[in-house]
Subunit: 245 residues, 2 copies
């Protein structure tokens, strides 16, 4: 697979779920094509993505992006893509128990992502935030008080249990799950700066993990590059002061 060409298909204007895949490819220093961010004239743009989602019938039709195309394989679902990429990018230890543990953590992050998204869209993804603002305020209050601390505490506990003190979630070295957890912390800081400033005080291992990941050579270069889209008000992590308490 060393010469495989990785093609990512994702919405070109947001980090979204695609960012968890981008971070893995970037940290591994792998060449990849972010297809929908290429010019439309060059076969890119949203039309390239829509062709895969709604085009001709295929063996394994995807439900939603992100999609990773590798040769004849088309893979959807973020955690599934990372399960596939992990061993190929050297971002997960060998051995079934480690792979299961990594996926288990990644799926917990996936659940968390849905809950973050639903703070600003508790009623429907097809309505604007403004059309569900009252409900969003209620859901976000519950998220800040109950769910956010619960998820943060869980990952802090996972880091704490590691007696060898590697500071990573899976085994002794960095894995795709650490990169995804970095993204969660970064996104939550953007969306809920006040709540996070308060909650981070007692979760020092999470903060350390965030800092360690962002200081990695290739990640730092990526974050400073135009390839890293900014957080914005169309993505999963949105900053509405009303929702930050």
């Amino acid at each position: 697979m060393k010469t495989a060409r990785y093609e990512l298909y994702y919405w070109p204007y947001i980090q979204g779920r695609g960012e968890f895949v981008r971070l893995a490819l970037e940290d591994a220093g792998r060449d990849y094509v972010d297809v929908a961010r290429l010019p439309k004239g060059g076969g890119g743009g949203v039309p390239a993505l829509m062709r895969l989602l709604e085009g001709r019938p295929m063996e394994h039709p995807p439900f939603a992006p992100p999609l990773l195309k590798v040769g004849n394989l088309l893979i959807a679902q973020t955690a599934n893509i990372l399960l596939f990429l992990g061993p190929r990018l050297g971002l997960v230890p060998k051995g079934e128990a480690s792979r299961i543990w990594a996926l288990q953590l990644q799926l917990t992050i996936a659940d968390w992502v849905v809950e973050v998204h639903d703070t600003h869209h508790p009623i429907s993804g097809s309505l604007y935030y403004e059309e569900q603002k009252r409900e969003a305020r209620r859901r976000a209050a519950d998220f800040r008080a109950e769910r956010l601390p619960k998820f943060l505490d869980y990952f802090e506990r996972v880091l704490k249990r590691d007696r060898k003190g590697s500071g990573y979630l899976v085994g002794k070295a960095i894995s795709y799950v650490d990169l995804s957890l970095f993204q969660m912390i970064a996104g939550l800081r953007y969306a809920f700066p006040r709540a996070m400033a308060r909650l981070e005080r007692k979760r020092s291992r999470l903060v350390a993990l965030h800092d360690r990941v962002s200081a990695r050579h290739r990640i730092a270069a990526y974050l400073a590059s135009p390839r890293r889209l900014s957080f914005n008000q169309q993505g999963i992590f949105r900053h509405y002061p009303d929702l930050d308490g």
Copy 2:
């Protein structure tokens, strides 16, 4: 692994996410222990589950049930458990492409499950339905009009694309994903009888899959046994006439 003892840890009063695991074990005719449904005096009940969730520190602490214990392995996250069990129970074809495809579909079902749950709990899992009834009505209306048809159409399309006409989602034989899709149809019929009666008319492949699964020898025996808990108003699928349009 042939003599492995499978221990399922899940809330004893509901089908919930545990049911997707039970259906796989039941269809394969495997002995398993549904630990929290054993008497408390015999080491069962909710306390047995809580010991794993909140007890002594462990290498791979789980975030939430269902949990599967196999020897020294403790696995959480439904799709992760099924990824592990699939090959061991003969419920997924050999080959990486098939395994990826099965997990991709299972993760799409997992997303769907969250959306079903959130129709009756759009604000918070720690509040009663009655405390979020107004929001639930709005969210359920969107679910019935937009999301439910979208998910149903997707799986109908997956079944339709299969030119060999096996009638299964992955390869030529039944897989754990078919069992999970059966559970979705059964649960949605319980929760949204009116919406489903209307929507099923044009999704004949889904209905056929449901019927084929429920007629399987071991599944039929399971469904008729006391091991199959009834759908009820504490699970993922709840019947509130107000939410059924």
